[in-house]
């Protein structure tokens, strides 16, 4: 049996890694993957708490998060491909036509 604080610490590290990735990465696909890391940290949390409070709700929630995350990545990839077609690049920093 793994103790709860350990799991929470793991998920916090996972979440922070994801946040760092979103802020530091320039490649559109890598940003998407970092967001996936953050969502998976949420899943780890939900399942751990579900076990801890003896309630199945958290695991159901995690299932929904997985499904929605898949849908979101589908949309994200569609938009990234659209941008790649128009500009031949997926560097998110170069997408900056609109300012102030």
């Amino acid at each position: 049996m793994i103790r709860l604080p350990l799991v929470l610490f793991f998920s916090a590290v996972l979440f922070s890694t994801g946040v760092y990735g979103v802020l530091a990465r320039r490649n559109g696909v890598l940003v998407l993957m970092s967001i996936e890391l953050m969502l998976n940290a949420v899943n780890v949390n939900l399942v751990a708490f579900s076990q801890y409070v003896r309630d199945i709700g958290g695991q159901v929630f995690a299932l929904f998060v997985i499904a929605v995350a898949a849908a979101e990545v589908g949309i994200g990839l569609a938009i990234v491909i659209l941008i790649f077609r128009n500009r031949e690049s997926i560097n998110v920093d170069e997408v900056s036509l609109l300012k102030w």
Partner: protein, 484 residues
């Protein structure tokens, strides 16, 4: 256990779900010149859902194990979201037909987003709230990027998507922590659990609330999470911007209202000041940056950020003994704001047929070329600034009164709001000035009948609400959510 589902309570949602599938299927069989027929079809579906919602007035039903409530608060917002949907459909017809976009797909995505909006005010469970919020935003990412060959529209979609997904992740992390602290995802259960003894987990609970609030602050474009809004609004097709700035934003606020006033109300002493800071900075930054705008949609985008600041103000008053009044003020402001903002965007849609750059200078001479539109636009601008004789005045008045009644920080907030309203007059009146005083090229402007109709209707509503504020100000059931 076999849970029973109250099908009458979810009838509007069922009709909408059915319609959006039908729209997508019918679109396949329509030949290109007839693709626009998807719009009347969608309209029929939304109208049917609207009628179904009207049958639920006064109802108080619960289904899906207590996670879905249909009470007066929910019905009020459902009626509102469906009306907004009809107006946006009117605005979309010509725009998407003339632009030769993928019309069937557009109406499908728009209806999906509306479905999310309609589910939002009924969601009394973290899971339901999350699903509704995703259903509002996910199709919106795509329709924001709908002008596929325009890099500006692509950029609008990308920025909206990245910020939207990032904010959901932050919000979800907070939700998972709340679940851990309280052991439940039901908002009422969470409220009960957070009212009791937390046994050393207070800090965790407060951190979780902060995460959730941050996630929602992105959605409603509160400072310092507002930077995506102007870019997305400018790049997206104008009818989509109208939808984002009114329905999508209002959906974020309904979710926030339920979370804050039902689940987290006992921690108000903690999050009240957070909202006070959000409110002050959001309205000030929005107004100050709006002063420098030359482009009409960007001006309206910053104006909508500033307006979000006024809507956040009542949240800061929670826990000062005026919960009911603050809640009612927030709801009233959201409704009034959406009417006047939609009207303003209707006029912008009409002008966008003449000039796609939509500079404020392009409004020159509109008073002579299209007097009705110019008059309506003047009414909306005056109303957004909160000057009588318009509905915007009452919206601001109720928020202001709640602030004064709360005392303490509320008075300070009310004063900041009045100062901001005065500043906002400068840029709101820039468009009427251009339309009336500046000579423009003399060419009669032909605006689609539906768009003119929407603008006239919204203008009439703005005036009517001023003359007879009881229309919107005294929904007694509004405060059933708040037990103060």
């Amino acid at each position: 256990m076999n849970p029973t589902i109250d099908y009458h309570a979810i009838l509007p949602e069922l009709i909408l779900s059915g319609t959006l599938v039908v729209v997508l299927v019918v679109d396949v069989f329509l030949r290109p010149p007839r693709k626009w027929l998807a719009m009347p079809l969608s309209f029929a579906g939304v109208l049917a859902a609207f009628v179904a919602t009207l049958t639920l007035i006064g109802a108080d039903r619960t289904t899906f194990g207590g996670s879905y409530h249909v009470d007066p608060f929910a019905v009020l917002f459902k009626v509102f979201f469906l009306s907004v949907a009809m107006i946006v459909l009117f605005l979309s017809l010509r725009y998407f037909r003339e632009g030769r976009y993928y019309q069937g797909e557009y109406y499908f995505l728009l209806l999906s987003s509306v479905l999310g909006c309609v589910m939002m005010p009924s969601s009394r469970d973290l899971l339901m709230l999350f699903i509704s919020l995703e259903l509002v935003s996910a199709p919106a990412f795509l329709i924001a990027a709908f002008r596929k060959n325009d890099p500006r529209s692509n950029e609008a979609g990308l920025k909206f998507f990245l910020i939207g997904v990032l904010s959901s992740a932050v919000m979800l992390y907070g939700m998972s922590l709340i679940y851990g602290v309280t052991g439940s995802t039901n908002l009422y259960e969470i409220g009960k659990a957070l009212a009791g003894h937390l046994g050393g987990q207070e800090t965790l609970a407060l951190a979780a609330i902060l995460f959730v609030v941050t996630g929602f602050a992105f959605k409603v474009s509160a400072f310092p999470f507002q930077f995506w809004a102007p870019d997305t609004y400018e790049g997206a097709p104008v009818p989509v911007t109208a939808f984002l700035a009114s329905a999508s934003k209002a959906a974020g606020f309904t979710g926030l209202l339920q979370l804050m006033f039902v689940a987290f109300i006992h921690q108000a002493a903690f999050w009240g000041p957070v909202f006070a800071a959000f409110s002050i900075f959001t309205m000030s930054i929005g107004n100050l940056v709006a002063l420098q705008q030359r482009q009409a949609v960007r001006l309206l985008a910053y104006s909508s950020i500033a307006q979000a600041g006024y809507m956040l103000l009542p949240f800061a008053l929670a826990g000062h003994g005026v919960d009911k009044e603050a809640f009612a003020a927030a709801v009233t402001y959201i409704l009034i704001y959406a009417i006047m903002n939609l009207g303003a965007f209707a006029v912008v849609v009409a002008v966008s047929r003449k000039s796609s750059a939509l500079l404020i200078a392009d409004f020159a001479g509109l008073m002579r070329n299209a007097p009705l539109l110019a008059l309506a636009m003047t009414i909306f601008m005056v109303s957004l600034a909160g000057v009588p004789p318009t509905a915007g005045f009452w919206g601001k008045f109720f928020v202001f009164r709640a602030g004064i009644d709360a005392g303490g920080i509320g008075i300070a907030l009310a004063v900041v709001m009045v100062v901001n309203s005065v500043i906002s007059l400068f840029y709101y009146l820039a468009i009427p000035r251009q339309m009336i005083l500046v000579e423009g090229p003399e060419e009669p402007m032909r605006s689609p009948a539906l768009v003119t109709f929407v603008a006239a209707l919204a203008a009439a509503a703005v005036i009517a609400v001023f003359v007879y504020p009881d229309l919107i100000a005294h929904f007694p059931p509004l405060s059933t959510l708040v037990g103060s």
